[in-house]
Symmetry: C2
Subunit: 379 residues, 2 copies
């Protein structure tokens, strides 16, 4: 397998956009191609979840090839719910590493804010196994992670205040990110007093509805930020099939694969982006990734491990909670931030960051990807 690096990156502002899903994807792609010096592109992968169900637009890969003037290059959309971006990135990585292509454009995009809340909830719920009693019973994503949070509190001693601390940390990071959706300062008191979404999760514990796109150009060789490893795993898509509600096995397995491929462990990682679709999800994820013992994520958070200057800053972009969560774009927005950190040009720059990790989740645990990156000069 050859070395693969991220040569160019691009990202739109996350939030509400009036333009089409195509316009968003084109904007991020043009930035990434420019950043990479307009190289010849051999293929396009698009991470997108609800283009068909909410934006009325599929064939995004072909539209991009045409709109960007890239000729007849092969293109495809990849779907893995909220992990669509991470999975699209993995295709590009593997196909370059194994010598099939030299350079691949990967684009993540979602257009959501134009939908009604019923349309959006309906589209999001296609990420559950709807051929089951859980779908029929009306389980939703906030409902799922609310149940998990109550169980987490019961087993570990954590409380709503610890979830609020996750939200506050990520909002504080977002204040410095010019592309983030939410850049208004908040406080623990405001977060704890916000309206309930599903007990015990309040408004600030849940990621928002967002439009946006992120893109990157990957190429063979080591001239950019290098991709050290790609892990991906599937897990049970139903709550009733999860033996332990405080675990998301797909994350642990994807991390195991990635650490093994990179020959590294959690202690080697300098900066991390995780999939905080809910504040609760961030705590379980840092545990699955080995940045805290099982059931101890809230303690590490309280100790400041994930804050600026902490042992391993988590979600320095603001995370899904405050950077925003345009579903298909999220996995690539995470990598955009990690690559920026390893280039030394990020908001909330972690000084001397050399190894970064990005973790993307799909469904309630149906999919997870973990990618590990290295910056600095090639050794």
């Amino acid at each position: 397998m050859r070395q693969v690096s991220v040569k160019g990156i691009g990202m739109t502002r996350f939030g509400k956009h009036e333009g089409s899903i195509k316009k968003l994807a084109v904007e991020a792609s043009r930035q990434a191609l420019k950043d990479a010096g307009y190289p010849k592109v051999d293929a396009i992968y698009v991470g997108n979840f609800m283009g068909g169900s909410l934006a009325g637009q599929e064939i995004l890969g072909s539209m991009l090839a045409n709109e960007l003037g890239l000729g007849p290059v092969p293109a495809a959309k990849v779907e893995g719910a909220c992990a669509s971006g991470g999975i699209a990135f993995r295709q590009a990585y593997h196909l370059i590493a194994s010598g099939v292509y030299e350079r691949v454009l990967v684009v993540g995009v979602e257009k959501m804010t134009h939908g009604s809340i019923e349309q959006i909830t309906g589209a999001i719920n296609t990420a559950m196994d709807n051929d089951s009693n859980e779908g029929l019973a009306g389980l939703t994503f906030p409902g799922f992670f609310g149940v998990v949070a109550n169980r987490y509190f019961h087993e570990t001693g954590a409380s709503k205040e610890h979830l609020a601390r996750v939200a506050l940390k990520n909002r504080t990071y977002a204040l410095e990110n010019p592309l983030a959706q939410f850049r208004k300062p908040t406080s623990l008191e405001e977060i704890l007093a916000a309206r309930a979404i599903t007990d015990p999760l309040g408004l600030f514990d849940c990621s928002p509805v967002t439009d946006g796109a992120a893109a990157m150009l990957l190429e063979a060789g080591g001239e950019g930020v290098r991709v050290l490893a790609s892990g991906q795993a599937s897990g049970p898509p139903l709550m009733q099939e999860i033996p332990d509600l405080l675990r998301i096995p797909a994350i642990g397995e994807a991390a195991r694969q990635a650490y093994e491929q990179a020959g590294l462990g959690p202690d080697d990682v300098d900066v991390v982006e995780v999939h905080d679709c809910f504040s609760m999800t961030e705590l379980i994820t840092v545990e699955e990734l080995g940045f805290a013992e099982k059931g101890q994520g809230w303690v590490a958070l309280e100790e400041g491990c994930f804050s600026p200057g902490g042992k391993v800053p988590v979600n320095t972009s603001g995370g899904l909670l405050s950077r925003g969560h345009p579903i298909g774009a999220t996995g690539l927005a995470q990598i955009y931030q990690v690559v920026s950190q390893l280039r030394g040009t990020a908001c909330n720059q972690v000084e001397g960051a050399r190894i970064g990790l990005a973790q993307n989740l799909g469904g309630t645990g149906a999919y997870s990807t973990v990618h590990i990156f290295e910056g600095g000069k090639t050794s």
Copy 2:
């Protein structure tokens, strides 16, 4: 690049099914895994187009991993409109050929018949570039290929009767296919007298709304039907950007790549499945693939080239027109038929068939894949 072969194949009956999209995908997958001798599977790719917009179900890859008991294997859905199946197959082929995986399950599936005609048309139209005046003006797929047919008649001398002959040929093949949607005999007179859909296309000129799934297990080595080549190209998704209405450049380019990789030409091919979403499309496609000169597909058809015993039998499965067109499954149903032909076990078996070709189209020319296969003992 290593040799890759198709070890196991499976397919549901095509037509109307009461069960869920998941049940269809599981049924075809179990057949393919059984046919391959239940090997260990390293990854799953699912070709699917409108799971989110019409069946209310995404995360099909993870659901299959879970339902089939394949453990945490990486999985993803791939979308390229009606070429989703062919594109999914290509991912599996490349990732085995290049050494990333040893064995990959590829599944194509669509559940359509439960939708209203408005829902189905809406979902299909996400395969057009809707950020354009063509979408706004109400162009549909039958509308597009109706325009192409009128132009084809004008330039070549062909007529409605030649389209009817395509439909009759494919229906006649379907009579022998126990999995085909339409198995009732018809006649040139009935086809020509059928109600108009969009001038000059009648009911029999248009592929139907279908539920179904097809699956295959690919593995490294040459113990099954061998994959000799994979071509894929993108083309302009808008009619206004096509310089010549009688060409679909993505097909020609995908074919060029595939012939080059295989070191073969059209004369070497013994049996073919093409994407006859409309009777008109089959004529243009046989021309793009080199089985007839440009504008002469209707002449070759009249001469019986594509009929039983002809030079190169086309759509011996019945094609999209009569086997049915469950969109995401179509590309794999084509390969199912080609592999069956090269195994010598197909309906409408072509005696001594050794080289087969399958061509899958997405949108009005947004995507095309061409795969070439070889049967018989490894040389």
